[in-house]
């Protein structure tokens, strides 16, 4: 498999109009201008984002002009993709720009923003916020309501009877106009962005009379199709502390392993197929998951960091020993109601959560289960509190 074939197949969902047309252009030696856009509405990038970043990096390495577009203009419309109720929270342009800068820092773990052929950073507010009403009407005039409603999301919302603010129809149009403003040859994005990206393809064709290719990358999911990396309250961030990151990968479901290898690493497909086969034959998935965790920690950090993270993980969770480097809780109070201690140390999210943990015998003090019959425990320096399998805390009095 040569580099172009690799670019066009590995971790690629669809190519519009089709792969053959894009391959022909690439084989001719033409260098393309392409981009992916990001709505900086959150500050932490997660491994789901890495799928696109890795693809952008491949384009970059092949000498194409890659633009990292920060949607500080469109973000104001709020991308309704995947959202089933009308968005409520809106960000100021300043917040969006700041988030965008954080994005660049984080994605720098995968793409190069310096050296030869660096990825360019653009902000779409630079042209969107200059759009006058005449231009907006012109853009809107390229679409019919019927075309806008073809979007699955709108259909879902219509069926469920949730009202669609007219504002939400602006989003695909503005995203589409980005392609016109940058005069790009290709847009890359997650498969959930297909509608918006095709809106841009249409606008480029009608306003610039040229072809814009669209390449979609699959969403990072486990074998059941559940999104990985962004679960509520448990984001696997690109810049997570390495030990933490390693642990989070290890806590992914076994059916995420093969997809993660395919989309997030360069491990040859033959090898991932072998893994799949071995797991089906009963081999412990933990072995492969550890390989994955190592591979990803290395990719986003370095080999030595990954080695340390793995060692720490093995010591903590597999040897059932207390790790050497754990968080401390400093207090003057030595006698504690266990429930209150768990809340105060944030080992439990709430009082009821703490009670539940104690009742489940999930709390240990120096290796001894804290019984729910105990109304008070005494703490001394260097005591170790353990909650569940992974949370440790050293007491400092």
């Amino acid at each position: 498999m040569d580099a172009i074939e690799h670019l066009l197949t590995r971790g690629v969902d669809k190519i519009y109009p089709n792969r053959e047309a894009l391959e022909k252009v690439l084989r001719s030696g033409k260098k393309l201008k392409l981009y992916q856009g990001f709505d900086p509405t959150g500050t932490q990038l997660h491994i789901g984002h890495a799928v696109g970043f890795r693809k952008l990096r491949q384009w970059q390495d092949l000498g194409h002009e890659v633009i990292f577009l920060i949607g500080d203009g469109t973000g104001q419309a709020g991308d309704p993709s995947g959202k089933k109720t009308a968005r409520e929270k809106f960000f100021t342009r300043e917040e969006l720009r700041q988030n965008g800068k954080d994005y660049v820092m984080q994605s720098g773990k995968i793409m190069r923003f310096d050296g030869p052929n660096p990825v360019k950073i653009l902000y779409n507010s630079d042209w969107l916020n200059k759009l006058g009403l005449v231009e907006i009407l012109d853009i809107a005039g390229h679409f019919t309501l019927q075309q806008m409603l073809e979007r699955d999301l709108y259909q879902e919302r219509l069926k469920s009877g949730v009202d669609l603010s007219l504002r939400e129809f602006m989003y695909p149009l503005l995203q589409g106009y980005d392609s016109v403003a940058m005069e790009v040859d290709l847009e890359l994005g997650g498969s959930d962005q297909t509608f918006n990206m095709l809106a841009g393809r249409k606008l480029v064709s009608q306003m610039l009379h040229k072809e814009k290719f669209v390449m979609t990358v699959p969403l990072l999911t486990d074998a059941k199709g559940t999104k990985i990396g962004k679960t509520e309250g448990n984001v696997i961030g690109l810049t997570d502390e390495p030990n933490d990151f390693f642990g989070k990968i290890m806590s992914l479901g076994d059916d995420a392993i093969v997809n993660c290898f395919t989309l997030l690493t360069d491990t040859p497909i033959e090898e991932t197929n072998t893994m799949k086969k071995k797991m089906a034959e009963g081999k412990n998935p933990m072995v492969f998951k550890k390989l994955l965790a190592f591979e990803l920690t290395k990719q986003f950090n370095s080999t030595s960091v990954a080695k340390n993270a793995q060692a720490s993980f093995e010591q903590t969770f597999q040897d059932r020993k207390t790790p050497t480097d754990i968080a401390e809780f400093t207090t003057k109070q030595t006698d504690w109601d266990p429930v209150e201690l768990l809340v105060a140390t944030k080992l439990a999210a709430s009082k009821s959560d703490a009670k539940r943990l104690v009742e489940q015998n999930a709390v240990e003090l120096n290796g001894q289960v804290v019984s729910h019959q105990l109304s008070a425990i005494s703490l001394k320096n260097n005591d170790i509190i353990k909650v569940g399998k992974k949370k440790f805390l050293k007491i400092h009095v």
Binding site: L131, I136, L137, G141, L145, Q146
Partner: protein
């Protein structure tokens, strides 16, 4: 009934099809405070026709009661074209085209309202500078479902005909005009009812009191159709040749004469005279409004010289 009440009643009834927000409307009128009366017209062509003078005359009546006429030239909405009743999407006009079209509009309006006391606004005075953020905010005031209650949109949807996304902006821009000028009352034809209802909602979303609206009867076409319009080619243009105007009026259907008197003159029809005489009176009045009394008298003579048989009938 004192004179003021009588005049208010006249404003509320003569040529009036329906009132939206009638209760507040009447209360506002009787409160005696000067109200802001909005009427907007789209410069889709270079001139306007007699049908447009119906709301202008109503505007004048309000001026005479001490209210403020707010005349809006829709150089943005005219780019889109009011989709109401249209089965096809119209090609958009450019801002330059609509502004070129509008050159004579103020001058023409001055023939019917006291232009010195009126406020004249081009929509471009707020839409040239509206930001994307403000536009998006405006779009957020309505839902797609609400706009799809528009009869024309439903018709297009039913018949599978394209509905340009930009056409959905028409109503919103009209509505924002009312926000921009803080209108108390708006004038328009019965086909504007949907737009006025949305406008009221949008104004409330911007923290304003919703305007009331006076839906005025349609002026019939010269061919007897329900509505005079450019597209049906059954209109009397205000800047048309006076003799042509005179001829067109003389050809209207007899049973439309009274409506014409109601809507485009200040006098009542004399039911006892021959229809030719009534039409002659009407035509003279209209030509006089557009071109002056002397021209009106000249074309009157010319017309009856050209049509001796008609002269013999009266």
């Amino acid at each position: 009934m004192n004179r003021q009440t009588e005049r208010i009643n006249q404003v509320l009834t003569r040529g009036v099809h329906e009132i939206i927000g009638k209760h507040t409307f009447v209360a506002m009128l009787h409160a005696g405070k000067p109200l802001r009366i909005k009427y907007g017209i789209d410069p889709t062509a270079t001139s306007f026709h007699l049908g447009h003078t119906v709301p202008l005359r109503k505007l004048k009546e309000f001026q005479e009661l001490g209210h403020i006429a707010v005349f809006i030239i829709g150089d943005y909405t005219a780019q889109i074209g009011d989709p109401v009743g249209k089965s096809e999407t119209r090609t958009m006009l450019t801002l330059k085209q609509t502004q070129d079209n509008a050159k004579e509009f103020t001058h023409l309006a001055a023939k019917f309202i006291d232009i010195g006391k009126a406020e004249v606004h081009f929509q471009s005075s707020w839409y040239n500078t509206i930001t994307l953020e403000q536009t998006i905010r405006l779009m957020a005031t309505v839902t797609k479902e609400q706009l799809m209650r528009h009869e024309t949109f439903r018709m297009r949807e039913r018949e599978g005909k394209p509905l340009g996304f930009h056409e959905m902006f028409y109503t919103l821009l009209m509505a924002f005009d009312s926000v921009a000028v803080k209108a108390d009352i708006e004038l328009g034809g019965p086909d504007q009812k949907f737009n006025f209802l949305v406008t009221r909602q949008v104004m409330e979303r911007y923290g304003l009191n919703p305007e009331a609206a006076l839906l005025l009867d349609y002026l019939p076409g010269t061919d007897g159709a329900e509505k005079m319009s450019k597209s049906a080619n059954n209109f009397v243009g205000l800047d048309e040749d006076p003799l042509v105007q005179f001829e067109k009026i003389m050809k209207i259907r007899d049973d439309d004469i009274a409506t014409f008197f109601d809507l485009v003159t200040n006098v009542a029809i004399d039911h006892d005279v021959h229809p030719i005489i009534a039409k002659r009176q009407l035509a003279t009045q209209i030509v006089s409004d557009c071109h002056g009394i002397q021209t009106a008298q000249t074309v009157d003579q010319q017309f009856f010289t050209n049509h001796p048989q008609l002269k013999n009938m009266i």
